[in-house]
């Protein structure tokens, strides 16, 4: 995977505003085609991030857990 245009959003330990809200905020800042990698310690992110991404029409790239941290990659599609 080409990591050149991947920006990491470190939302570990974020209860408020929370990982999904952090992701939504950062999606506004990147260009169409760029990718964000969300780091979340909230297991709920594994489900609620894809739910939003699919509803709004961006692209899920990957969604995996490593040592209790979810690494969720999303590509901005529009």
């Amino acid at each position: 995977m080409n990591d050149e245009n991947v920006t990491v959003v470190d939302a570990r330990g974020s209860f408020c505003p929370g990982p999904l809200m952090e992701l939504i905020a950062r999606m506004k800042e990147i260009e169409v085609g760029d990718t964000l990698e969300l780091l979340s310690s909230d297991k709920g992110s594994a489900a609620d991030v894809p739910e939003w991404v699919n509803k709004v029409g961006h692209e899920m790239v990957s969604n995996e857990e490593k040592d209790g941290i979810w690494h969720i990659r999303v590509r901005k599609a529009k």
């Binding site: 959003v9 470190d10 939302a11 570990r12 330990g13 974020s14 209860f15 408020c16 505003p17 929370g18 990982p19 999904l20 809200m21 952090e22 939504i24 905020a25 506004k28 800042e29 709920g44 609620d48 739910e51 939003w52 509803k55 709004v56 029409g57």
Partner: protein, 377 residues
């Protein structure tokens, strides 16, 4: 040691006063100096704007002279910074003066950015400035019923504000006797009614009990003011008669213009609160890019930790503790009931059912704030 504090809001003011007390002897014998540069000679209690919007406070109650809040040893100038030269430990201000430092703390805050959503600034009411809060109240007074939509931008200051304004509007319309002619419709960007899961578990049944409808996964895209329609990024839309918004926020332009952080948020170490890659540059309050609430409470607890650390650096050369992500937020649940949420990086909040006692404590804190700003609470 020269300590320069940029910004005279809650974070900067608490930090300056707390530091002045900790470094009393060093300031007296000339071994330390604290300078604050701010954009205003007045200090606003920003949470009070919520009450202004529903006619329960007036703007004059929200201000004090900034100089009156500061310990006398602090050198204070109304002279906002325009250029940060972090490589050479100096800044240039609006007046053209240069200030050098050994340690700098940046607490310039955030600003509303309704312009990011087409039509929002022109057609929605909001309460994040004195002018807009007064305008919103005047609009509410003229309102005689219809559909009121609450829409929330991301990121925003004060994560409790969307819920608080909704519950307070409910009670405002009830007191005016027009609740039966009014539909309150709450929208929220993520898949539940609040970021904090335990707060959402409390708020959702409250909405249902009060007849407030809600729609989640709703991020504003544009406002069609002619047809009174709000459209979302998710492809849905809702009609409104009165649109109330918690607008998205950005950091201050000077931060972006100086290349210190995207959207005006400075990359900050979550425990030490130093700017990433800079050992003598600290950041607090809304200005950080940390994934925690943009709220006065956050700035307050960060300032407490930073003051302890900077004072220790002046005295023994090293900081003494980490910031643990502590935040404490009151949650107004209407005109006479409130609860609160307290949490940090490790522990989520567990809010209790709202009570009148917590509401009155919040009312008391609205006055006690000035003791907080002075670094006494």
């Amino acid at each position: 040691m020269k300590i320069l504090i940029v910004g005279g809001g809650m974070g900067g003011t608490i930090l300056a006063n707390n530091l002045a007390r900790r470094l009393h002897n060093e300031l007296k014998n000339g071994k330390a100096k604290i300078t604050m540069l701010s954009a205003s000679d007045r200090h606003m209690y920003q949470p009070g704007l919520l009450y202004v919007a529903v006619g329960r406070m007036t703007p004059d109650e929200l201000y004090r002279d900034q100089a009156s809040l500061l310990e006398p040893e602090i050198e204070f100038h109304v002279d906002p910074v325009e250029e940060f030269d972090l490589d050479n430990n100096k800044v240039k201000s609006q007046s053209g003066k240069t200030y050098d430092y050994d340690i700098i703390a940046i607490a310039t805050g955030s600003r509303i950015y309704p312009e990011g959503i087409p039509g929002l600034a022109e057609h929605a009411e909001y309460f994040y400035t004195e002018e807009s809060a007064v305008k919103m109240f005047k609009r509410l007074r003229e309102f005689e019923g219809g559909k009121v939509v609450i829409a929330v931008g991301v990121p925003h200051k004060c994560p409790m504000a969307p819920l608080e304004i909704t519950f307070m509007l409910h009670d405002y319309f009830k007191e005016r006797g027009i609740l039966d002619k009014t539909q309150l419709h709450y929208t929220y960007p993520i898949g539940r009614t609040h970021s904090l899961e335990n707060v959402a578990k409390w708020a959702t049944p409250e909405f249902e009990r009060l007849g407030i409808t809600y729609e989640t996964l709703f991020n504003m895209k544009e406002v069609d003011g002619d047809n009174k329609v709000l459209r979302s990024e998710e492809g849905t839309e809702c009609n409104y008669d009165l649109l109330i918004t918690i607008p998205a926020h950005k950091g201050m332009e000077v931060i972006e213009q100086n290349g210190l952080g995207s959207s005006g948020w400075i990359p900050t170490d979550r425990h030490r609160l130093n700017m990433e890659g800079r050992e003598n540059v600290f950041v607090l309050g809304d200005t950080t890019n940390l994934p925690i609430s943009k709220a006065g409470s956050t700035a307050h607890f960060e300032a407490d930790a930073l003051a302890e650390n900077i004072a220790a650096m002046a005295k023994i050369g090293v900081p003494v503790r980490d910031y643990d992500g502590k935040v404490f937020c009151f949650i107004e649940a209407g005109k006479d009931r409130a609860t609160y949420a307290m949490f940090n990086y490790q522990n989520p909040p567990d809010p209790k059912a709202p009570t009148k006692a917590v509401h009155w404590f919040k009312m008391a804190y609205n006055k006690l704030y000035w003791a907080s700003a002075r670094g006494l609470l």
